[in-house]
Amino acid sequence: MLGLRFAATWVINLKERLPDMYAYDHYDHAIVNARVDEFRDQVKRRIAGEISEEEFRPMRLQNGLYLQLHAYMLRVAIPYGTLSSTQMRKLAHIARVYDKGYGHFTTRQNIQYNWPKLVETPDLLDELASVEMHAIQTSGNCIRNVTTDQFAGATPEEVDDPRPYAELIRQWSTFHPEFAHLPRKFKIAVTGASKDRAAIRWHDIGLILKTDKEGQLGFEIVVGGGMGRTPVIGKTIRDFLPKADLLSYLESILRVYNAWGDRKNKYRARIKITLDDIGEAEFTRLVEEEWERARQTPLDAPAVEEARIRAMFTSPPLEVLNDTVAEDFATDNADFKSWLNNAVADHKVPGHGIVTISLKPHGGIPGDASAEQMEIVADLAERYSSSEIRVSHEQNLILPHVARHDLPTIWEALKAADLATANVGLLTDIIACPGLDYCALANARSIPIAQELGKHFDDLARLNDIGELKIKISGCINSCGHHHAGHIGILGVDRKGEELYQIMLGGSGAEDASRAELLGRGFPADEIVGAVQTVIDLYLDHRADREETFLQAVRRLGTSPFKEALYGTG
């Protein structure tokens, strides 16, 4: 498919499109529409009893359709977390028509619907296809949706925009026949920024854009990161790969993994285990050896194709502004000032900002948005952010290109929709998986713990005093809630029918990635908030000064004093 695409770029007829997003060409439309038709037929045959569940399961999973506790669940891909207003409105429409009026934004920058009916799923997918979306490769042992920095193309911190590369990887990996049946699922993340907002070192492959001594663009290649029951921080197997060689090198890594990965034991099947088994040096040698062969074949994207993709990610034409409208409004409005300081990041164009919309109202469900909220965000993006929205792996939404003088108006609209909680990056900006409230794999509920923490720590002044603190909650060892990377990680476990919650400290998903350390036995649900309060109190009592963050303090103090405080033992 990719070869065909390269050979025929001259016939591509770009439709009217947004300045800063990839637009499907006729190949994209054709393959997505064909997949919808194929799945419609598969569902029809399943309902008619022509195929068994055993036969049907891989078919539905390849289209993102799971069966969970209460109903089917559809996971929709949001490529590298980027949405247009039109697409967000379609997601709202789907929530309303095919689901129960809401969706759940996930730690993979995707959205999940919790209640679709099997018989209606083909129509749902058809609606998605009409706005250039799908659910392909959101499940199964294949290369999953590529993720990236939610501030990509807007932040002043990056050496290059990672989205064109993410799109290139999306095209390369979609229906890649050699990698359709990998030993296990495979996740790739890309960033171009010095500050890691994409948990790069926790992915099967993490790509960090950088320049070499000659100023050439390329990638640091990180391999073998992952959470789950064996948390591992990825290792750099190549300090610098010229960007033109990206696909052949990725292909080589995948080939080595495909050949050496464990297919007998699924708990040993991720690339992190393969790399550990073979050894980093030997794994790297195998990849480099394979790459010497692979780079001789036409795997890498021709410059013309890269240019075609890159041309779709031109930044919107923003003028430099130097008004003080937002600052003036903030002088008379403490709530707005708090939100401005918390939720608005610097944009690469002076006078503009990147707005993070918290989907973590205190007491709410992390990552959930109602159809009405989605439509409000879509409207705001259309009016104030070049019709573009991002989804972060921390389960928030982003308006990436906002003029600062529009911030008061945006804040008012968000506030009216319960979307202006100024807790981004603070204790209550909690990642939580769906947990046992929805998930068939979970051992314990996650969301109620996040809700109780949100209610308990609902004082913004107190939250700001505590400072940056990332709590991440998983309802089972599969770690969809990223508890291993939490400054405070919470893992729900099942002990003879009782939900218990273990606390771990010191994890990080940022550029200083680290694995959280388990403190000890789990706490019952009604004690976990108190336990977190104990941890916070100890931090506040022992931080070197107000500048020392929670994570820095844990790293300086070690976990012993926290264990002592919680269990009475060092």
Binding site: G49, H70, K100, L118, D437, A444, R445, I447, G497
Partner: protein, 106 residues
Amino acid sequence: MAKKLKGPQIILSNRLDDGRVQFLTKDTSWSFQAHDAWLLVSEDEREAAMAAAQAFVQSNQIVDAEFAEAELTEAGPRPTHPKYIIQNAGPTVRRDLGYQSEGKAA
């Protein structure tokens, strides 16, 4: 599927066309309410009930069937493990959703 569990059990499944949770009743039909379920207290009952449930799997009316530990209450059988309690009632974080919203949960 036939995991040995201690004590009385019930059988539940997801309906094929929409995934809705339902419970096997003593007349080998299905109810959305756990308290209508057939409470299985002997190995013979377990085997007979699962055989009946599997017939629905074979006829493509349900996806699969599994046992869940249960207890007898005044209203009828009730699952005892959190997973099955939640499956019976709906998500604890959205009381407006699931079968609890219809006032049918046991």
